[in-house]
């Protein structure tokens, strides 16, 4: 499994946010959300552009990969167009063979885990031999400029992961979940067929955060309750399904949603700090990219090595959640 990440050049620091929201000081932001800066796509950059950069960086380091891709999975909730999907356009822009399968799928925080589940199936069924799993998001483009809460949390990024059948054999059993009852708690309401985008009145939540139905809305308390109700059980069930104990896992890599929530989850699951990944300092919450960003970070710093087992768990918009165990090779 080879992972490549890409972050847009532009970054918004806590000091930048403090200039716009004077009471929301840089120190307070770091203390509350565990983030110092987050990358932000430029005005003419879309997730597709970020994905192209990630893929080209991957091919730059591993030129042999490009010709062996026969399946492309593209995870995004913000494609360039209503149709066609990003995957076919990316196939063309990367100069991949036309004799490949490609599809988009619309997931956020659980996207990478679901992508691994699809990759495992496609590779072990010999439907694919060389699979490129792409995650790419630019949630910052969907956040109201006057929503300091969400502007503090989210960042943009793209990742590209190349997998073969050998890698698929190192992907364990999955535990997956879906609960549409939580749909309205993390939503961009307008812009689809149900509610076309249009003039929408300003609303507020929390301490003076402003949004409209054209923007991203996230109900913090509801999301927090969802994570504390589901994620500890998700972890337990995933360990059990993979016939493993907590001690067998070198690193728990949870979707990096918000450092407050992550710290609390670590406390209630009693996972020791050294086995619990928590690092959003310079990235923020990059949605479907947080897990591959974490994996790349851990691999590059040799904190995880060949033979180690890591548990990856994604959870969020949908609600959608899932986890599995990876054996590093």
């Amino acid at each position: 499994m080879i992972i490549q990440t890409f972050f847009p050049t532009k970054a918004i620091t806590n000091r930048d946010l403090e200039k716009e929201f004077p009471e929301w000081t840089a120190d307070k932001i770091q203390q509350k959300v565990g983030i110092v800066s987050r990358h932000v796509a430029s005005e003419d950059e879309t997730p597709l552009d970020l994905a192209e950069q990630a893929c080209n960086a991957l091919f730059g380091d591993h030129p042999e990969i490009k010709g062996s891709i026969d399946y492309l999975l593209f995870c995004t909730q913000n494609p360039d167009h209503i149709l066609p999907g990003n995957s076919s356009i990316l196939q063309n822009r990367l100069g991949l063979s036309t004799e490949i399968g490609a599809l988009d799928y619309n997931l956020g925080c659980s996207g990478y885990v679901y992508g691994l589940s699809l990759a495992k199936g496609l590779l072990l069924s010999h439907t694919a031999k060389g699979l490129l799993l792409v995650t790419a998001e630019a949630y910052t483009k969907r956040i109201n400029p006057k929503d300091k809460g969400n502007r503090s949390i989210f960042g943009d990024a793209a990742t590209a992961t190349f997998l073969t059948e050998t890698d698929a054999r190192n992907i364990g059993e999955f535990v997956l979940g879906t609960d549409g009852n939580g749909a309205n708690n993390l939503i961009i309401k307008n812009g689809g067929l149900r509610f076309p985008q249009g003039n929408a009145e300003e609303k507020s939540y929390g301490s003076g955060n402003i949004y409209t139905d054209n923007d991203l809305f996230m109900d913090g308390p509801e999301i927090f309750n969802f994570t504390i109700e589901r994620v500890p059980t998700l972890i337990k069930k995933t360990l059990k399904k993979n016939a493993l104990e907590q001690n067998d896992i070198k690193m728990f890599i949870l979707h990096q949603a918000n450092s407050y929530i992550l710290s609390f989850l670590r406390k209630i699951t009693r996972i020791p700090e050294k086995h619990f990944y928590l690092n959003m300092l310079n990235t923020g919450n990059t949605v479907s990219s947080t897990i591959p960003v974490a994996l790349e970070d851990l691999l590059n710093s040799n904190i995880i090595q060949s033979g180690d087992k890591v548990l990856v768990a994604g959870f969020g918009v949908g609600y959608s959640y899932g986890a599995t165990v990876l054996t590093i090779s």
Binding site: G149, G206, P221, F224, I228, Y260
Partner: protein, 71 residues
Amino acid sequence: MTDEKKIELLAELFEVEESEIIPEKKLSELKWDSMNMLGLIALFKGELDIILPAAKLRTFTTVNDILQEMK
């Protein structure tokens, strides 16, 4: 949990003196923002093992509302 412990925990959450945690105190006079709402949810789960539904949380206007729910 004793009433003293409840007051201690709430004072810690809102970063005020314990003397300010009186039942009739309006939450709007304390720092009742999104972070403290998450903090209250964490407090309920961590200390009392209770899930505090967001809908319930939004009905709170006074310290007494919280104390009643902590029973």
